[in-house]
């Protein structure tokens, strides 16, 4: 008896070793993914602690020191009202990440429920869902987001809803495909025969199999959601000045670029780009871990 538990716990630890070992192996092979995890940690740090650590109040104006180029006092220079660009860029991290994470989480949940139901039960549910998704995808997605924002009203929450709506089709289709190929698999039938309800089989036996590809999608989508939200606030939707947000800061800085004050637009733009880049790298890296065949 003691022998058996020992051997089974050894089995488990070995199994843990191999999947962890596999991840470590892939990561060693791909230092870029390590870098991406490091950058993600940096952005999360900015989002959590940034507002407490920045040297200046992001909203405090100082007319005496307006439009100063980058210096030791102001690493990223000051804007037309004398606000410190560095502080604004760092503080904006929290808002930008919140918008994109909330939007992606929302579309993840809604897309999973819709896609899992359609993939498992099929029939008219599947047909109706497919039609609806086709219709959403028939719109240029950024344009649809603009239309949704115009209809719902111009607020930060509505940016989240609009971004979530245009992301739902990607998740719903992915989950539908993953669930559909497994709905009559042996393990699903065994779980049903053991007396589990349909919902239970779907939620605890079939759906977890869809999670690895979903994680890749989440990571790639986060970058895209940040771009979308920043684009919407760039054209003056959602976030209102003087709130620090990357898109709106680039938009404000754009007025000064033709007269040579480049730091107003370039630093928030670079930060935005870096954040998107991080999520894209992370997505590619996760895909390597999840699906070795797609490694390039």
């Amino acid at each position: 008896m003691a022998e058996m538990t020992a051997s089974s716990s050894q089995d488990r630890s070995q199994k843990g070793d191999t999947s962890l070992g596999h991840i470590a192996y892939v990561l060693r092979d791909n230092p870029v993914t390590m870098l991406a995890f490091g950058m993600l940690a940096f952005f999360l740090g900015c989002a959590f602690f940034g507002p407490a650590l920045v040297p200046y109040d992001p909203l405090a104006t100082n007319a005496a020191r307006a439009l100063e180029p980058p210096s030791w006092d102001h690493w990223f220079g000051t804007d037309n009202l004398g606000r410190d660009v560095f502080s604004r860029v760092i503080v904006a991290t929290r808002l930008d990440l919140t918008i994109s994470v909330a939007a992606v989480a929302l579309s993840f949940v809604i897309g999973s429920v819709l896609g899992a139901a359609a993939g498992y039960w099929g029939g008219w549910l599947d047909a109706v869902l497919n039609r609806c998704l086709d219709t959403i995808m028939a719109f240029p997605l950024f344009v649809l987001a603009m239309g949704v924002l115009a209809a719902l009203g111009n607020t930060v929450e509505n940016i989240i809803y609009a971004t979530a709506i245009i992301n739902i089709p990607f998740y719903a289709r992915l989950v539908r495909a993953e669930v559909n190929i497994r709905r009559n698999a042996g393990f699903a039938q065994a779980a049903k025969l053991a007396g589990n309800s349909d919902i239970r089989v779907l939620a605890f036996h079939i759906f977890p199999n869809a999670l690895p590809p979903m994680m890749v999608q989440v990571s790639l989508n986060l970058g895209w959601a940040i771009l979308n939200a920043a684009g919407l606030s760039f054209i003056g939707l959602g976030v209102r000045p003087p709130t620090p947000e990357w898109g709106i800061m680039v938009a404000e800085g754009a007025n000064f670029i033709v007269s040579g004050e480049w730091w107003l637009a370039v630093f928030p733009g670079l930060w935005l780009m870096l954040a998107v880049f991080t999520f894209n790298l992370l997505g590619d890296g996760l895909r390597d871990i999840v699906d070795p065949r797609k490694r390039t």
């Binding site: 039609r131 344009v143 719902l152 670029i257």
Partner: protein
């Protein structure tokens, strides 16, 4: 009926439910307006009676389904409502501004195809070389670049620092007169009129915004070309062709490239969706007088009829483009008609 034309007809039939869905969604968007549309259209100075009158005029007192019928019959007459800012009908506003947007989009797509497809082919045929690495860097950087930021950087470098680009204000400098209206594409109109000075001026204005959009669309096209070319090159018919002793040129361009082109054409549909969205941002950066900046102006002043008209027009344009792309796919696919 020939299988090719049967497939094209089938594809056109598939577009009908999508168009119906698009119309339903844009109707719902119009009716989801915050507050009372009648009070909004009546203006701030209106009293109860005039609001009620407007509500009746707009058919807003009727049940939703009946409103939808009114909406569809308005649409079928081409009536998208009246813009509050310009005072013109939304349809004529959009029609007047559409050529500017199309000229920009098409120039950008041509430019990015001209760069991305050869780049992808070279990267696939010479894996591990500098071309391959360049392709990978461009692809990763390209998808992370916010279009509006690329545009601003280009303005800073080429307008402010280098001084070679004209000021980023619209389609034509003030010193030129716009060419006589034939197609609405300045490059074509100026060429038709034989006015090469204006043609050059219009081209100069077009270069930066088109490059901005092209940089954005470069990544997906190059990535897809490379992947499609790689998978085509590793297929059996290429091995057979090589074994049969065909020249490298014939194998690459006669067989591999033609087959690799099919997934690339499909990707173009998705790329177009992104381009139409990115267009809005680029037009904003370069003060390009297209339908994107029209919609942004309308959004800022809450001119809902104009925004909804814009969304509907873009969606219909996109559906039509996808249709054209799928038909082109049917025309170039060598396998259709063989079976």
């Amino acid at each position: 009926m020939a299988p090719r034309s049967r497939m094209i007809l089938g594809r056109m039939a598939q577009a009908i439910p999508v168009v119906m869905g698009v119309v339903v969604i844009s109707f719902l968007l119009t009716r989801a307006l915050p507050g009372d549309p009648a009070a909004y259209f009546a203006g701030p100075a209106a009293d109860e009676a005039s609001i009620a009158q407007i509500r009746e005029e707009l058919g807003l007192d009727k049940p939703l389904f009946q409103q939808f019928i009114y909406y569809v019959s308005d649409l079928s007459r081409g009536d998208l409502g009246t813009s509050l800012t310009t005072g013109q009908s939304v349809l004529s506003d959009l029609a007047a501004r559409l050529p500017a947007s199309l000229e920009l989009t098409l120039a950008a797509l041509l430019l990015s195809c001209a760069i991305a497809i050869p780049l992808g082919v070279l990267a696939a045929t010479r894996p591990g070389t500098w071309v391959d690495h360049l392709c990978r860097v461009l692809v990763t950087a390209g998808v992370s670049m916010p279009t509006f930021f690329t545009g601003i950087l280009l303005i800073y470098v080429f307008y402010y620092l280098a001084g070679v680009a004209p000021s980023p204000l619209g389609r034509l400098d003030f010193i030129y007169l716009s060419p006589p209206h034939v197609t609405g594409f300045y490059l074509i109109d100026a060429a038709l009129a034989g006015d090469w000075e204006t043609w050059g001026g219009a081209l100069k204005q077009l270069v930066l915004p088109a490059t901005t959009l092209a940089l954005f669309t470069l990544a997906p096209i190059a990535r897809m070309t490379r992947a499609a070319m790689l998978s085509a090159l590793s297929s059996d018919f290429i091995r057979t062709a090589r074994a049969a002793g065909l020249t490298n040129r014939k194998v690459l361009y006669g067989y591999a490239f033609r087959n690799a082109l099919l997934p690339v054409v499909t990707t173009l549909g998705m790329v177009f969706s992104f381009t139409l969205g990115a267009n809005v941002l680029v037009e904003r950066v370069f003060a390009w007088p297209g339908i994107g900046s029209y919609a942004v102006e309308a959004l800022v002043v809450s001119d809902y009829a104009a925004v909804q008209g814009f969304v509907l027009a873009m969606a219909l344009l996109f559906v039509a483009l996808n249709l054209v792309i799928d038909i082109a796919y049917a025309l170039i696919d060598p396998r259709i008609g063989l079976k």
